[in-house]
Amino acid sequence: MSKKPELIYPPPTPAKKFLRLTNIRIMSQVLFFAIFIGSIWLSWTSRVGGYHTSFLLEIDPLVAVSTALSTHSIYRYLGGALIIIVLTFLFGRVFCGWICPMGALQQFTAWLFRRGAKRQIDDNRYNKKQSYKYIMVGAMLVLAAMGALQIGLMDPIVWMYRAFTTFIAPMWDMLVSGVETLLSMDLSQAKFAPGVAPRIFAGSFVIGLIFFGFIIINVRHHRFFCRFLCPLGAFLGMLSRFAVFRMDRNVSKCTDCNLCLLRCEGASEPQAKLVESECFSCMNCLDDCPDDALRFAAHGLDKNQAQMEPDLSRRQWVLSGVIGAVSYPMLKNNAYSSDENFSPDLIRPPGSVEESEFLERCIKCDQCINVCPTNVLQPASLAEGGIEALWTPVMNFKIKHCQLKCNLCSEVCPTGAIRKITVAEKLGEGEFREQGPVVLGTAFINRSRCLPWANQIPCVVCEEVCPTSPKAIQTFDEEDKNAFGQIVTLNKPKIEPDLCIGCGICESECPVQDDPAVYITAVGESRSPERRLLLESRVPDEFRS
């Protein structure tokens, strides 16, 4: 390159047909974004409810491969990832350019704030630091192979589901409610969660802030997340070295005008030696090349004009493995996931597998939290399970309870952290009678805060709402004289732990709202023999319904 050619903007474009590849790509992106939004909308309990809505997570190869590494098994529909793997072997990182809703959202944001040809071309030049994401995904895969799954912290599809569940869907519903009040009309079908009080999610601020940051950074740096941070993109970049089709530059036709950089999504250097692992196959450069020097093809490719493997030295790969290997003991010795020091608030949804297995499977996509009709499921903060369990689902019974005849969370879990169970299995009915109901935890009474116990005031809402038969909260009458000399009959509640299933309705209905006088803790949960409470059940057979 001797002298920089003068830039002409807009480039002289010959008449283009409407059905060219870039327009078809935009249609594909819109379609998959619609599928993504539609799956969240459809999964609400009064719509299709139990229908399997995690489609985009199931074709996410990083989810499939990392859970296969951590569990040595491939759960339910995760084999769907083969679709994307095959597509990548054929066309490179076509997922990033054509399918990924996170990519589409970023591309759209960047397009809204596009800033002129010169800045775009500068912004779209390849940056060596783009290869750091390979170090991260390498570390995450090593970590997964050792048994700690952390890809959910960064995977873009997971981020989309998590952010839409805890931040964007409630925000949208809030907006629709406002419009409803303003126009006094019924717009409930426009809401993600109609017919319930507005949903709240612990930690939605932090999740929202980070996600908003990922999106808004596109104003200055085009697709920063995709280029520098995305572990799924990095994983597909590792596979794309085998891609059959790729962008090919005809050096004899190329005038080095650099216009192919104008809208290069991946910053993959199409103007020089293409870094194939960074190319999204978005086809923009095909559109922008005024000299017809580029083509997306499988045969007659110029080998010198492309670097197929990621731009990472062997040392950096080793470093990546070391980071993964060192992170494992850091996470696991953190004591939160041990059977001695587990938090009483670490109450998992029904169907969850034993905690260490749970952490091998849960990708924190929060789909269970999205479908939960009562809002009891919440993304965990650092308090319940430490950094390893951040944003995994836990039950917060102060908000609401786990509904008896509901198994939606187990229906949508893409990785089997919450195994698919039926309502009969959850309640221990029919063929599951022998093994008994799924127990989430055990209820206890804090007698120093309970109105009948501590204050001679009748109450027992807890007993009224207890759903087991016979009730796990029983009462006995006691007459007492209060400070004003009145004789009151008090129904004093007590818990029968053999009958309690830990559904938490007693806690959520307890009027001592801020620190409920009856509360559930995780001990006694049926998924873990190490966290049991009772030696045996005292319930005689004739008492079981």
């Binding site: 409930s188 319930v196 009709p373 008896l404 027992v460 809402v461 009224e464 038969s469």
Partner: protein, 350 residues
């Protein structure tokens, strides 16, 4: 390219001295503008509170929202002096039972006129299947909505409840949603916007309380369709207790004085009709139930214009708990909501 030229000129002049003296005209204009803005803001901030447009708040209470409570009309239909107030339908299909019960009090057309907008309030408190007796019977609901729409030519039938568990699921799994869809009723679910402050004159605990008001807009008739259930704290949950499902707010505090709140509920709504389901009576482990063996099946449906009479009769004959009525029935009677002993004004249709 005009812009380019101008910007070139600017850069040339950048360092040159440029006089920037305020002219008299500009001084006057700016001065007047500033004085007007300060005066306007000063009025908003300092003018006495009762002055029009003033924002002054000397007590700190001005921004506390004042909600004007709503009032519900009396939905009852005046009956002749010697009219029966409780009809008891016995033997037959669900539809026959309901029709017989209604015939006992003069037939449903006496109460619902063509063009009425009717609200039916079933008890859908829990996510339970209908055979467990914890929720209202979907079969009776279906027959009732059919009657309202076909026989009485009601303009619209609404079905509303504020369940304890997830509303959509409670309606779905109790069978009420299906019954409503099949018969042509419209379901109202309680979301964040559905509640308004309601004034119930004479009530002691809920004189002003958040109420599931949205489905009540333009309603002309109200029918309660209740399950008859055991209840640990207040002994029985029947027609009057059914209205609990229309309250919002912190209703879990009501159990501290349960009989008083149920007496209040008897004044909350003056319903057109109360219908009690005697086909599935939950005899124990109420109000949630859970065991089909605890449900007493029968062939009885009650229809009443006096909900106190209906509850008393159901307590004695359906729950079989004798005449030692729960305290809330006496309190409701004292409030003038109905009469417990009304034996000469009930009619059994077999």
């Amino acid at each position: 390219m005009k812009n380019t030229i101008m910007s070139n000129n600017d850069t040339e002049k950048k360092d040159a001295y440029r006089p920037n003296t305020l002219s008299r005209r500009e001084l006057l204009l700016r001065g007047t503008g500033a004085a007007a803005a300060v005066a306007g803001m000063g009025y908003l901030a300092l003018a006495p509170e009762h002055w029009r447009g003033s924002l002054k708040d000397s007590t700190g209470l001005r921004s506390v929202p004042v909600e004007e409570p709503k009032l519900l009309p009396d939905f009852s239909v005046a009956a002749p002096y010697n009219q029966h107030v409780l009809g008891i339908g016995r033997t037959g299909t669900i539809e026959q039972l309901l029709r017989k019960a209604l015939d006992g009090i003069g037939g449903i057309q006496r109460y619902i006129q063509p063009g009425d907008v009717v609200l039916v309030k079933p008890n859908v408190a829990f996510d339970r299947s209908p055979n467990l007796g914890a929720t209202s019977s979907p079969d009776i609901l279906k027959a009732l909505v059919n009657m309202l729409l076909v026989d009485c030519r009601a303009r619209e039938v609404r079905i509303a409840d504020n369940p304890i568990e997830s509303p959509a699921d409670c309606f779905e799994k109790s069978g009420i949603k299906r019954a409503a869809i099949e018969s042509g009723g419209r379901i109202y679910l309680p979301d964040g916007n559905a509640f308004e402050l309601l004034n119930t004159p004479g009530a002691t605990l809920i004189e002003k309380w958040p109420f599931f008001y949205r489905p009540f807009k333009d309603v002309t008739k109200v029918i309660g369709l209740a399950a008859v259930k055991d209840h640990n704290l207040c002994s029985a949950s029947m027609g009057i207790k059914n209205w609990y499902g229309l309250l919002g707010g912190k209703r879990n505090t009501f159990h501290q004085n349960i009989h008083e709140i149920i007496a209040d509920l008897s004044m909350l709504i003056k319903p057109t009709l109360t219908i009690l389901d005697g086909t599935h009576v939950l005899m124990a482990n109420g109000p949630t139930g859970g065991d089909p063996n605890l449900v007493k099946k029968g062939e009885v449906v009650l229809a009443a214009t006096d909900q106190v009479t209906a509850d008393a009769w159901a307590f004695e004959h359906l729950l079989e708990r004798g005449t030692n009525y729960p305290d809330y029935l006496y309190r409701s009677e004292a409030r003038g909501s109905g009469k417990i002993h009304n034996t000469d004004r009930l009619r059994e249709v077999i």
